[in-house]
């Protein structure tokens, strides 16, 4: 009973925060509501006995990613009027697609297919069960190959980010002092003979 109350609290908070993210006008507020959404889903994960993931979600997403996100949002001068341009024009099509999707998802993901009689609730683990240990075993055992590939994906992200933003000596026109001191008079000065007065 207590668990259900906690679940509905967090779930309600999550839905509220999620809808606020996409409806509030101020992008900073939207980012802050996203933080709230992360907190509530971390609470839900705790109920699922995934303590490590819940804490990692708060530490990584709330602590690091969202702070960075807030910085970016504050630094960019987001023009809301330009973003909302054409909203009325696209609204009917978007609404139609959204309604069709909602009906489709609603008929599939519901009590009939995912009720407690279809998908049983997980059995509670004993108190000495370590979520972190199990996660480590899965990550470095069963899923070692995907884990390594994910590492390569991150490496490519680094390379791509550097390749797209770096302007080293290969591309810049910065002066090179060691070459400047070697310049001789003949390289730079050219004497041109100009007549003193116009020839008539």
């Amino acid at each position: 009973m207590f668990e259900q109350i906690v679940f509905y609290c967090f779930a309600g908070m999550l839905i509220f925060a999620g809808s606020m993210v996409i409806t509030v006008r101020n992008p900073v507020h939207a980012a802050l509501f996203l933080v709230l959404a992360f907190f509530s889903s971390a609470g839900l994960w705790l109920l699922l006995e995934a303590e490590f993931l819940a804490i990692a979600l708060v530490l990584v997403y709330v602590g690091a990613v969202m702070v960075l996100f807030l910085f970016v949002v504050m630094m960019l001068d987001i023009n809301l009027a330009a973003l909302r341009e054409g909203f009325a024009r696209y609204f009917p099509v978007a609404a139609l697609v959204a309604i069709v999707m909602m009906v489709a998802v609603g008929t599939v993901v519901g009590r009939a297919n995912f009720g407690l009689d279809k998908v049983a609730a997980p059995t509670p683990r004993p108190s000495d069960y370590g979520n972190t240990t199990e996660l480590g075993r899965a990550l470095y055992g069963e899923y070692i190959w995907p884990f390594e590939i994910a590492a390569v994906v991150l490496l490519v992200a680094i390379i791509a980010a550097i390749a797209l933003t770096l302007r080293t000596t290969r591309q810049t026109k910065a002066p090179k002092p060691e070459r400047q001191v070697l310049v001789r008079r003949e390289d730079r000065v050219r004497l041109v003979k100009v007549d003193a007065e116009r020839q008539s």
């Binding site: 297919n113 899923y143 190959w145 590939i149 994906v153 490519v156 992200a157 390379i159």
Partner: protein, 478 residues
């Protein structure tokens, strides 16, 4: 064979790609060729490994996340060969522009790792990660020329739409996982057979199929193809339009045939729609294009539609026909974009159709090879493209879809117009202004010749490649 030996080519390529990266950092700023040859050497080494460890049977590694079978080995070999040739084309292009950008080779190597992972994926997780590794490298490659507005726009479009498609794919996968409780494609195929959960699996399938269709560039998920092909630098377009198609095909086979084979009835209908739409849009819109890169982009869309026809048969012979098609297509499209690279001058692209006018008189050999490629793309016998279409159509008719074959032939006939127009331009038209002969280097000429003659040879001896494809697909279990 232990797990590590199974992934030896992938592991080697990863190590070598990192090595090339380091070599690239410490090379002299004008010694671009050092990076180039390092990259070529890496691909050659990995190619030899794939050839040496060619498997007889399919085997799993790393708890079933990686599969090593003849289909993977064949596709990887062709992918590596195509990648190798595209490096030579790219060097010619960058050299003549005096560009010292070598990120192309490094990102291409990483894209190669992604493709190999994708081709050998045996779990939804590896399918997704391989795909992301490939796509991420490609986004960066398209965006590489920062000063070009067109390239930036293309990269942005590709990135945003690609992310959306990945999201769709991921949603579908999470749905499949939620119902089946497994990510392993082998276990998934067992779970899908459960009739009572048919609707749930179909729901997941729709999203997964959207993701696959986007990556293949099939209508109606083709919007990015023309813009990206036109906006990207030509070597990147060449790379983008050839090797990744092999990986996308493997992804379709792995997910649809291996994983969701029991839902064949559902995805066959969807594929028929996608195929007809792609062939219609691709072939008809291509006629209106004046830019050859854009024209070839629409041609890609139509060819990918044709490729799907082979999957509709849903048996090993049909998959083999599609595999033959995608291999031949990768070689042909590489050649066609190669010609655009050969023609480009030091300062400007030659990607208008008009730039091909009178090519046969300026450079008879290049004109001749381009004619072979265009005939092959149009599906004129006896070139390789004809046999590719022939094998696929035979399976479509054998599966009892004679009307579908008729539609495919009709659209191919419409499509033949714009390929033949290029030949007419090359052989019978005069250029607007006098132009110099093609200024590409010796090695680009050599690679282009090899490319064109490969299409010619495959046209005369299609049986050998087809039997390789068939043998691979029969082991796969189809």
């Amino acid at each position: 064979m232990n797990d590590f030996m199974t992934v030896l080519p992938e592991a080697t390529l990863t190590a070598l790609a990192c090595l090339v990266l380091i070599v690239d950092v410490f090379r002299r700023s004008d010694a671009v060729n050092v990076t180039f040859w390092a990259a070529v050497f890496s691909v050659l080494l990995v190619l030899s490994q794939v050839a040496i460890y060619f498997p007889e049977q399919s085997g799993l590694a790393f708890h079933g996340t990686f599969v090593h079978d003849p289909m993977a080995a064949v596709l990887k070999s062709f992918m590596l060969v195509v990648m190798l040739l595209s490096f030579f084309y790219a060097r010619d292009y960058f050299q003549r522009r005096g560009s010292t950008q070598t990120e192309f080779y490094i990102l291409a190597l990483f894209a190669g790792i992604g493709m190999m992972v994708l081709i050998s994926a045996h779990s939804l997780l590896t399918v997704y990660l391989g795909l992301e590794l490939l796509s991420l490298s490609l986004y960066a490659m398209v965006a590489m020329t920062r000063d070009s507005v067109e390239a930036s726009e293309a990269a942005m479009k590709y990135f945003v739409l690609g992310a959306l498609a990945s999201g769709m794919l991921l949603y579908g996968m999470s749905m499949l996982y939620g119902v089946a409780g497994t990510l392993d494609l082998g276990a998934l195929s067992g779970a899908v057979a459960d009739e009572s959960r048919h609707l749930l699996f179909t729901f997941g399938l729709v999203f997964v199929l959207i993701g696959i269709a986007f990556k293949l560039g099939v209508a109606p998920f083709h919007m990015w193809v023309p813009d990206v092909y036109q906006g990207a630098p030509t070597p990147v377009t060449l790379f983008l339009g050839s090797a990744p198609k092999l990986a996308a095909f493997a992804m379709a086979i792995r997910v649809l045939a291996d994983g969701l084979g029991a839902l064949a009835g559902e995805w066959q209908t969807m594929l028929v729609l996608l195929a007809i739409l792609s062939m219609a849009i691709g072939n008809i819109v291509a006629i209106a294009q004046t830019n050859i890169k854009r024209m070839l982009a629409y041609s890609t869309i139509s060819h990918m539609g044709f490729l799907l026809l082979g999957l509709i048969a849903a048996n090993a012979i049909g998959y083999a026909a599609s595999m033959f098609y995608v291999i031949v297509y990768a070689i042909m499209s590489m050649g066609a974009f190669g010609a655009v690279i050969m023609l480009s001058g030091p300062g400007q692209e030659s990607d208008r159709l008009q730039d091909f006018a009178g090519l046969a008189r300026r450079s008879p050999w290049i004109g001749f090879l381009m004619m072979i490629l265009m005939f092959s793309l149009a599906g004129v016998p006896p070139f390789a493209g004809f046999w590719a279409k022939w094998f696929v159509l035979k399976e479509v008719i054998a599966a009892g879809n004679a009307w579908l074959a008729a539609v495919a032939v009709l659209f191919s006939l419409i499509g033949a117009f714009y390929y033949l127009r290029v030949i007419k331009l090359m052989y019978f038209d005069e250029p607007e202004s006098p132009r110099a002969a093609v200024g590409a280097g010796e090695d680009a000429h050599l690679v282009f010749s090899v490319n064109g003659i490969a299409v010619l040879l495959l046209g005369f001896l299609p049986g050998s490649l087809m039997s390789v494809c068939l043998a691979a697909m029969l082991v796969n279990g189809g």
